[in-house]
Symmetry: C2
Subunit: 311 residues, 2 copies
Amino acid sequence: MERDVIMREVGLRDGIQGYHEFMPTEDKLKWIRAEAEAGMPEIEVTSYVPPKLLPQFADAETVTRESLKIDGLTVAALIPNEKGAQRGFALGVHKLNFVMSVSETHNQKNVRRTREASLEEFKNIVKQAKELPAGRRPIICGGLATALGCSYEGAIDVSEVQRWASYLLEAGADELIIPDTVGYAAPALVKKVYTAVLKEAGSVPVAAHFHDTRGTGLANLCAALESGVRHFDASLAGIGGCPFAPGASGNIVMEDAVYMLESMGVRTGIDIERLLKVREILSSSLPDLRLEGAIARAGLPRGFQPASIAA
Amino acid sequence: MERDVIMREVGLRDGIQGYHEFMPTEDKLKWIRAEAEAGMPEIEVTSYVPPKLLPQFADAETVTRESLKIDGLTVAALIPNEKGAQRGFALGVHKLNFVMSVSETHNQKNVRRTREASLEEFKNIVKQAKELPAGRRPIICGGLATALGCSYEGAIDVSEVQRWASYLLEAGADELIIPDTVGYAAPALVKKVYTAVLKEAGSVPVAAHFHDTRGTGLANLCAALESGVRHFDASLAGIGGCPFAPGASGNIVMEDAVYMLESMGVRTGIDIERLLKVREILSSSLPDLRLEGAIARAGLPRGFQPASIAA
């Protein structure tokens, strides 16, 4: 399947991390398998945080091991620190996402340390990853939360984002993730920030991660696409939000993002009809979880022709 | 107040035309006055359809007369036909919006005649307007419903939109309105269609009108802005939808559109804080009407600086 962009499902991590109800492991795996079958190339399947902090991820080992059995799927996981990275190394997960904040205040509130200390930890993680045998070395992603604005500090200077991106790159990041953690961005800022970071990153991929808090999610996705971004996070039914960011709401809706991209001739490699059916797994497993989604509500346009042709 | 774009409130027409409950005339006027005070430059205040077809507009004369007393506000109204135009002429309304469909099927279902017959009617309306004394001659807008897709016919050829736009221009349209009646558009199509129509229109203004049926409303607005469009319809709280278009849902949310544009440095001349307060008039008048709006829910970003500086 040819793809012009790489979509990453983050619902299993960002989507359910703050939800009060535990999603049964078997349902998580059903969801992961069904999305992989619909053509999703990459899924952030869990987070290696201590279960006492986020009980939702008490089954991180099982979810990772079973996901790694799925042919062709890139299995990613969030890591809050070195200990989390070591769990990932032991499991042989494909990709580890480490996130620090550009905003000093947000970094302190989120992980109770300075940005410099977070950067040091990232360096250690990269160093340990490089010592692993070639076939077991995961891709290490460096994320910069609040890159498009912070609910404590307000606007964030583009030059600050560029500076911290350069530190992560110098530290050896294989990929960058630039999220609009609290949904402050509008398309003009998106273009500025991603253009700056892409320039810094050179051949290192840069992923965009938008929250649709203020209605601009898909407009921001378009702006990032126009800036040259080719990696996008989204969550099924738009579930989720950062529990440490007041006022943050869900991710952009994966189905709507895929619909928009496919309408524009941008191949995601995802079969949208099959993707829409995956919502049933979510709603039957967590019936009280609020599901968003314009396409699920309105249906595809008459005569809709996706850019990706189903295999 | 300097403006880079002209926003037009269509909630009083498109927003409530299909709603079962009559909005008291005094509440409509409160809404119109409050928006004008917030800096809204233009409002489509009513529709000159027979009240037996749409009882919501039984007070069209009063609403128009009172709106015309508001200093600096451009008062527009929808007209379904010549009779409606004559009501507008008699009232001295500033602008009349006549809408036909690019889709033959939609035109038949909507107004029970061919596109050619609709065009003839538009020509007659323009002719009659030109016979009015200079100071009482309204601006005549020609609209092309389903220009971005039709729920009966599916995709609409860009060349067809261009062709019918040229007919309206030849007939003497002072302005064009190009709506995504059923919310089928994604940004790539938006750019194609509006670029083509703007080229055809030359110095004649072209207004974009989006429905957020499939989540792409604000992304489409950005795409139209990038194509050169400077006139945008939207409705307070995103209310509305075309009663003749199955599956159509609300307009783009005015507050969210204004927020996004102002965030991007595009001056709407509208005070968003005052605009947000107008929602209270709507919710107290029609308490069962569903109000959308991301900014109303999430609030403005910390330190938000609009491009328009309140007078």
